[in-house]
Structure formats: C-alpha cells, structure tokens
C-alpha cells in the first residue's frame, strides 16, 4: 500500500486551521489558560510530555500542551520537532540518583530501610472521590503543609543495602560510549543502554500494558518494588572551553529499582536480578512499568526462555515510541486512492471469476 501526492484543498486547509484555533481557545467567555498555569497546575501532564517528548523543559512542555489542546502525544510530538532545531552543546555526566534530594522514597521490600519511607506528594491513600471543592474558585492553598526537621543525610539506594551479601546482582560498569537513538537508528541486537533510552521516551500506556502482562504471567519474573524515589538531581557537563565539570541546574527524576527472582544458571548462583526505570519528572507509574519491561527484556541475557511479548526486544522497541506509532497509524488518512482503485478492480475480477 502506498499513498499518492495530490494537489488542491489549500483553502479548505486554511479554514480548518482557523477553526482549530477557535476551538482551541474555546468559549471566550472563560478566561484563557496561561502557559504558567499549565506548568504549575498540570504538572503531571507536563512531566509526561517531557518524558515522551524526550526533552526536559517545563515551560515548553506546558506550551505544547496548550497548543495541542491537552493532547499529550501531539504535545510530545511538538517537543520532538522543536528539539531538532537546536544544536547539542554537550552530554551530561551520568546523573547521581544516589544523591537525589529526596521528595518521595518508598520500598516494598524493607520496612525499616535506612532513611525511612518518605511518602511525598502522592495520590496513594487518597480515596479517588471527586473533590467538588475544586469546582469553586480556590483561595490560596488551604491550611499549609506540615514541616519537620529534615535529616539531610543521603539515603542509600536499595542495591547498596542488599548488594553487600551478593544476594542482588551488581551493576555492571562500563566506559563504553552509550548508543543514542537520536543520532543512530535502532538496530538489533539492541544493547541495554539503547533499550533504556527507548523505554525512557516510550509511551507510558504501552509500557504499562506490557509491564502488567509480565505480572499476569506473560514472561513473569516475580517483581518486588525494591525502591521508588523521586526528587531533584543536579546536572553536570564538562565544556571543552573550561576543562572542568560545572553544574548547570536541576532536574526532577523518578527512579524505580525493581527486584526480581532468579533461579541462577551454570555460571551465576541464585540471586535477585533487577529491572531499572528512570524517567523525567514525577512519573512513578511509567518508571515502574519501565523497570518491569527492562527486566523482561533481559530474559535472553539471563538464559530464560523468550516467549512473551514483553521479553521480545524487537517487538517492544519497535512499538514503544508513540510518535512513530502515531505517524504510521495516522498515515492511513493520506490519499490511497490509486491503491484502493487497483484493489477494487481485483475484487471485481475475482467476483466475476467466482460467478462464472
């Protein structure tokens, strides 16, 4: 199947876009949304657009959400398009999540882990009842938030706690330059660095479904949420003109350490293995889904049978990017008149043959 070039329709397109602009604005009796309002009050949408647009800039993500009428995939597409107009100055040193300024940190495997369980601004334990008070104009934040003296010592990550006994697989360090999907197209076999990059920018819904499928038995590996942490990290680069590392600002990240059972193999004693999730912004669901799918895709490496969709690296990576998926699904809207004419002739001929 292929689509064909056609001419005409300019006036209709102009009119469609003018109407779109009017629809985007909505009823002018209501005040317009400012980009700052979106940035401040629709933070989780902003986080998702930054993650899937693969560009950390809260203000631009908020603008994209406004422009796309809240269509988050369209907004992520706008960010992806924007980034192509900018030069890349540098890559950062790997961010140190161990020294994250923790705003949330929970573990489902240790009750009393050093540093404690910090709930942070979570929806967990809310009753999911619509709050009709939000329908009315809100005054300044009600009451005020409780504060307690903070213990600013860094919180050890779960692998640092369990790793000492060798019960948990260690991180394999490497000085190799990581692959970059924005520079080289996806190729197989895809190493873990490329897989993690693809997952970090992958569609949350797709990864959530795949992660869920591993829990339901399609490539299960008995996961525990070893640790989830969210907070700010500093970003460092080393510009050539300076010759030393400088700190350029902060990012909010969410990290998930999934801990999974592993029977062991001929060369590796039984131990817990790990799946890893790291995403821009406060995106706990995405980070957890990413960690589940990362672990599932390690099946081959760990000598497990590769039977389920989430374990199939090509299947996951070729379908996780919602911008690419949108492009191919939505291209079906383009004119396929010639193709369809030939198909029509075929069907007519076949029906004639059957009738004879």
């Amino acid at each position: 199947m292929a689509y064909v070039a056609v001419k005409g329709g300019e006036q209709a397109i102009d009119n469609a876009h003018a109407w779109l602009a009017e629809e985007r604005r909505g009823d002018t009796a209501t005040p317009p949304l400012s980009v700052a309002q979106i940035e401040e009050q629709l933070g989780r949408s902003v986080d998702r657009v930054m993650a899937e647009g693969s560009l950390y800039d809260r203000e631009l993500a908020a603008l994209a959400i406004k422009q796309a009428q809240g269509d988050l995939i369209e907004a992520a597409f706008l960010l992806r398009a924007y980034r192509t107009t900018l030069p890349r100055f540098a890559h950062s040193k790997p961010v140190e999540t161990a020294t994250m300024r923790i705003e949330r940190r929970v573990s489902a495997i240790f009750k009393d882990l050093p540093g404690g369980q910090v709930l942070g601004p979570t929806y967990d334990y809310t009753h999911r009842l619509l709050d009709f008070a939000l329908m009315a104009d809100e005054k300044a934040a009600s009451g005020g938030v409780s504060m307690e003296a903070a213990d600013l010592t860094t919180m050890p990550r779960v692998p640092d706690i369990l790793g000492h006994e060798g019960l948990l697989e260690a991180d394999a360090a490497s000085d190799r330059e990581p692959g970059d999907l924005t520079r080289e197209p996806l190729a197989f076999p895809a190493a873990r660095d490329v897989r993690l990059q693809a997952l970090a920018r992958g569609d949350e819904g797709f990864l959530l479904g795949l992660g869920y499928s591993t829990q339901r038995g399609y490539g299960g590996s008995h996961p525990f949420a070893g640790e989830i942490r969210m907070g700010e990290v500093s970003v460092e680069i080393e510009p050539a003109e300076l010759g030393f590392a400088i700190d350029i600002g902060d990012l909010v990240l969410t990290e998930c350490q999934m801990v999974n059972q592993f029977k062991g193999s001929k060369t590796v004693p039984p131990q817990f293995t790990r799946g890893y999730g790291l995403v821009f912004g406060f995106g706990e669901r995405k980070a957890m889904a990413m960690a589940l799918v990362d672990r599932a895709m390690r099946a081959g490496e760990l000598g497990e049978d590769v039977t389920a969709p989430a374990q199939n690296v090509e299947f996951v990576l070729y379908h996780s990017d919602n911008i690419e998926a949108t492009g191919f699904v939505e291209h079906l809207k383009l004119p396929h008149y010639v193709d369809f004419q030939s198909e029509l002739q075929n069907v007519r001929r076949m029906r004639t043959e059957v009738a004879e």
């Binding site: 800039d57 890349r88 705003e103 910090v118 700190d247 790291l278």
Partner: protein
C-alpha cells in the same frame, strides 16, 4: 549547592559560584549586581544561544551510562572591559540569565571585585536557594512513615 563535588575538582570555588548563578532568577541577579556599585562594561563574545544537553543516567543507577533524554540549555561568554572572560551554561532558555551568569563569572575572577560580588550577589542567592531546598526537604520529612506489619500477616 552541589550534591557531588568531587574532591579533585580543579576549581571548586568557581564551580560553586557558577552553580549558584545557574539557578538564580535573572531579575534577582540584576538587582543584586545593581547594588554592588560601579561595574566595568562588558562585551558579549558568544551567544546567548540556546541548545541542548543530552542527560545521561546509569543502568541500575550505578552501572553503564545510557542516554536518558535532552534538556534545554543556554550558554553565553562575555569579556569585561578590564579583560576577564566569563562563561555560563544554564538550564532552560533564558538568555538574560545566561548573560548575567557569564558576567558574574567574569567579575568573580577579578580579585578587586570578587569579595564584593561574593558578599552581595553569591551569598544572598545561595541562601535563598538553600532555603527553598530546606523547605522542600522539611515537607518531605513530614511525610516520613514507619510501617508496622500486622501480627496476623505474613512478613
């Protein structure tokens, strides 16, 4: 301000002031500079120009590096009329912040001015940033819990 200043950094002092101005609001830097008295003029040698930094993470948090995604960054280089060159790379797309950050970097290298800039610009900005950081840490601390497993439940 920084979380991971390595002990062997060649210019820890410069790193510190650059990290402080990288996080400051431009109008605030300008206001604080304005209170420092007569300043030399400056010429912009490069920028301010917008670009990207590819942010890296580590597999498992401590393993091999991978590319997480990009962030917007603005950079600028200035030279003061008395010959000091200042650089800035700051997160985001604010041209004025990058230029002021580069100017502060240049002024801080001038021995005749660094004490004044330190006292009237860097220290107040640093305090403000530390206060914000402490406030968020205190809010987080108020949500710290101890879970008690029930006796009847498997632990």
């Amino acid at each position: 301000m920084n979380d991971s200043v390595s002990a062997d950094h060649p210019c820890p002092a410069r790193r510190r002031w650059m990290s402080v101005v990288a996080r400051a609001q431009p109008d605030r830097i300008a206001a604080l500079l304005g209170a420092c008295g007569e300043m030399p003029g400056h010429t912009v040698l490069r920028g301010p120009e917008g670009g990207l930094v590819m942010v890296r993470g580590r597999a498992g948090g401590g393993g091999a590096a991978f590319n997480l995604g990009e962030m917007t960054v603005t950079r600028c280089t200035v030279r003061t009329d008395n010959g000091y060159v200042g650089h800035a790379y700051v997160a985001g797309r604010e041209a004025q912040r990058a230029e002021l950050a580069a100017l502060v970097d240049a002024l801080m290298q001038d021995p005749d001015r660094s004490d004044g800039i330190e006292r009237h610009v860097i220290v107040p900005l640093e305090k403000q940033q530390a206060a914000r950081k402490a406030e968020r840490a205190q809010k987080a601390a108020a949500t710290r819990v101890q879970f008690f497993a029930m006796q009847t439940m498997r632990t």
